[in-house]
Amino acid sequence: MSTSNDGSLTPRSQHASNCFDDLLDSIIADVASECHRIARLGLDRSLEAEEEELRLSQLSDSTRGAAGGEGSSKHGVDIFGQSHPAVASDIFECMNCGRPIVAGRFAPHLEKCMGKGRNARAKATRSTTVTRSRHSRGSPVSVYAPYSTSAQRAPNGTAGGVSEDPSDYNIEEQ
């Protein structure tokens, strides 16, 4: 308990100060009591696991740089002893038009090949919810996929217009 009694404090301030001290002590005692229970009943085992992981990753922190980043990939050979060109050189037949296409350029070919009026049925599924939120420039972003989990916090990264309606991402919708 605070016993400092500054002579210049008014009795009212002193009351307030004492109240605050009481509240603070009470909060501290609450936390202490809860933690004591958790520790004594052995409910904090996950803490140990976390500390172990932190220790392991700090170890790898110290070896960072020595490994030269993510390891040589594009220069040597893979585990099977093979080497691969920057653009995949396999050739196969396009299943849309039948022409032989180089693997590494298949996607751009297919896009043109399937064209704007491609036959795929427009599916009004969860994926369209995501599309509404996508940037038109097609950067590799997902603000979040709203239907992946219905655990929505106030999102800190929503693009405008994304629906938060739970039925959008209820797997069991009928």
């Binding site: 009470s26 490994a67 990939s73 093979q82 972003v141």
Partner: protein, 582 residues
């Protein structure tokens, strides 16, 4: 799922003697237990009394009504034997003046305190007395109309795993209908040297997002087993044998996936081009089809949706039984989340259950971020009041996910009991864990300052072994009500008993990482097979050290349950009971 069992510490000698001295040691407290709106118990001796410690000096004012009279401290104890009230600093005097009076109770917190040991002590009978007093405030499983009603309960009983011993007809079937792959012991393709199923995937033009997810799926144990056990044979698929129709209904993405599994596990180690898969996927997801870098997580969700659609339509079964049994995608990835919204005024809690196929976790972006030296710059951003040192960890993200959150004023919840909008607390927890847990790390966020999307580069530490017990509904509920030794009882059944009995321990097997910028980035998957890590960078498969994986920027993390449990299936033909253990 059962929460981790709390171990009861051995009672101190004073507690033991108190217990033995009376038949029902704590029963008399029941009348005095009061439970506040959010379920926290306390002891009230007499509504009109002002308990205080007689041994503490009172303050300057002599009036007992003065608020300054509470100088006896915030913690008051009452002796269980005689009811005398005192503060912790004078507690040790009590057994001296009143011999045998060792055990007291904290009035505000309903915790036992041994005056002689000067320590908080625990007793299961006391805890059960408290739990019983708390039970009216436990949430009932009422649910809102927008989601599934009543907790989906796994009524199927557990069965023991039986090793599969093929009978003669099975053996013959295998001999005649399959081709055994004979690895050449001398070649570098020998699976004794390299694990089966490891094979590079060609990048067909900005398709690393697809390759990275496919690699993770190729090595998702239950999914791999499903395809390798011929559960979806692309040569026999009904959907595929339908006539080619205008709207692409003959496309079966599951068949294309089957083809990829066959290719990956064929023993051929030259990189494979998943062209047919890309084609089918574009045909079926026209809105996502374009030659552009896509988001791997979006792709993952899209694939699971397509698999679900393909399989559910074919089987014409109802997908609304809440068990996630509709298709292999949901059987593997679908879990159930529980959301509790509690009125802070009256304590009424509204509980809803929602299925989920992955968990999207916020990265704490206000956290310390330190760019790696690799990027040539070293920028340290520190919040002056940061309370965590070092990078974020997955477990901290999970803690944040299951922490009670106070809903702000705009989101006031309509309390059915109070019949008006009240401030409320919301808390998420996991009701049922999926077989395979996929964590999505939200690295792309809206910057409110620049009104653009930006990528959060901070490193996320993740464990290789993960115990999800603390994030289960049973643990979260137990902790909400003070971690008493008895599990929280709802509607006559405990959360622990409504479970599939599976364990909560997981092992990591795949990490999809993203490196680079928002608009010019690259996805790579790290696979963990037989305790070795392999980096799958499109066509390149390389063995790497643990440390490389730990340093990477995890975007999606895949964990599989360590122990698989079996439930009795409806008939031997269903796959419910036949998922093989890892």
């Amino acid at each position: 799922m059962a929460p981790p069992p709390a171990s009861i510490p051995a009672p101190c000698p004073h507690l033991s003697s108190y217990r033995s001295s009376s038949r029902n040691p704590f029963r008399h407290l029941r009348r005095s237990l009061r439970v506040r709106p959010l379920g926290l118990p306390s002891i009230r001796l007499d509504p009109l009394s002002h308990p205080h410690c007689p041994l503490c000096p009172s303050s300057s004012s002599s009036s007992s009504q003065s608020p300054l009279n509470t100088s006896s401290s915030s913690r008051l104890l009452a002796c269980l034997s005689c009811g005398q009230v005192f503060c912790p600093s004078h507690a040790s005097d009590h057994p001296v003046s009143s011999p045998g009076h060792h055990i007291s109770v904290d009035l505000l917190r309903a915790e036992l305190f041994c005056c002689s040991c000067s320590d908080q002590v625990y007793d299961s009978d006391f805890d059960s007395t408290v739990s019983i007093a708390q039970s009216p405030s436990f949430p009932s499983s009422s649910s809102s109309a927008s989601t599934s009603s009543s907790p989906p309960s796994s009524k199927r009983r557990r069965v023991d795993f039986k090793q599969w011993d093929p009978n003669p007809s099975h053996s013959q079937l295998i001999r005649t209908r399959s081709t055994q792959l004979h690895p050449d012991p001398t070649s570098s393709n020998n699976p004794d040297l390299h694990p089966w199923g490891l094979r590079g995937l060609n990048n067909m033009g900005n398709t690393c997002f697809m390759n990275s997810v496919l690699q993770a799926l190729l090595h998702t144990p239950p999914l791999r087993n499903y395809f390798l056990s011929d559960r979806h044979n692309r040569f026999l698929c009904a959907r595929r044998s339908r006539k080619k129709s205008a709207n692409g209904v003959d496309m079966c993405l599951v068949c294309d996936l089957d083809q990829i599994y066959s290719a990956a596990f064929s023993g051929d180690r030259s990189p494979f081009s998943p062209a047919k898969f890309l084609y089918s996927w574009w045909r079926l997801s026209s809105d996502l089809a374009s030659y552009e870098q896509q988001d791997a997580h979006e792709f993952f969700i899209s694939i699971l949706d397509r698999i679900h659609d393909n399989l559910v339509e074919d089987q014409k079964i109802s997908n609304n039984n809440g068990q996630g049994d509709c298709c292999i995608a949901h059987r593997i990835f679908s879990g159930i989340l529980r959301s509790d919204v509690t009125c802070t005024y009256c304590g009424f809690t509204s509980t809803t259950y929602d299925p989920c196929i992955d968990l999207s976790l916020d990265l704490d972006s206000t956290h310390l971020t330190r760019q790696t030296a690799r990027n040539g710059e070293k920028e340290t951003k520190q919040k002056h009041n940061q309370n965590q040192s070092g990078p974020t960890t997955l477990m901290r993200c999970l803690e944040k996910f299951t922490r009670p959150e106070r809903l702000d004023n705009e989101q006031k919840f309509y309390c059915q009991k109070c019949k008006e909008r009240r401030e409320s607390l919301k808390q998420m927890s996991i009701r049922k864990l999926p077989l395979v847990l996929c964590f999505h790390v939200k690295r792309f966020e809206h910057s409110t300052i620049k009104k653009t999307l930006r990528k959060i580069d901070s490193c996320l530490q993740f464990p290789f072994s993960l115990d999800m017990a603390a994030y289960l509904s049973s643990s979260v509920l137990r902790s909400r009500y003070g971690n008493r030794l008895l599990p929280v009882v709802e509607n006559g059944t405990t959360e622990a008993s409504i479970s599939s009995g599976a364990s909560s321990e997981f092992e990591i097997f795949a990490v999809v990482t993203h490196s680079g910028r928002l608009d010019a980035g690259h996805y790579v998957t790290y696979l963990r097979i037989n305790n070795s890590w392999f980096k799958c960078d499109d066509a390149w498969v390389i063995k790497v050290e643990d440390s490389i994986v730990r340093e990477s920027q995890a975007y999606m993390l895949f964990y599989v349950q360590k122990v698989l449990c079996y439930t009795a299936g409806g008939n031997t033909g269903t796959s419910t009971g036949t998922i093989e253990p890892v």
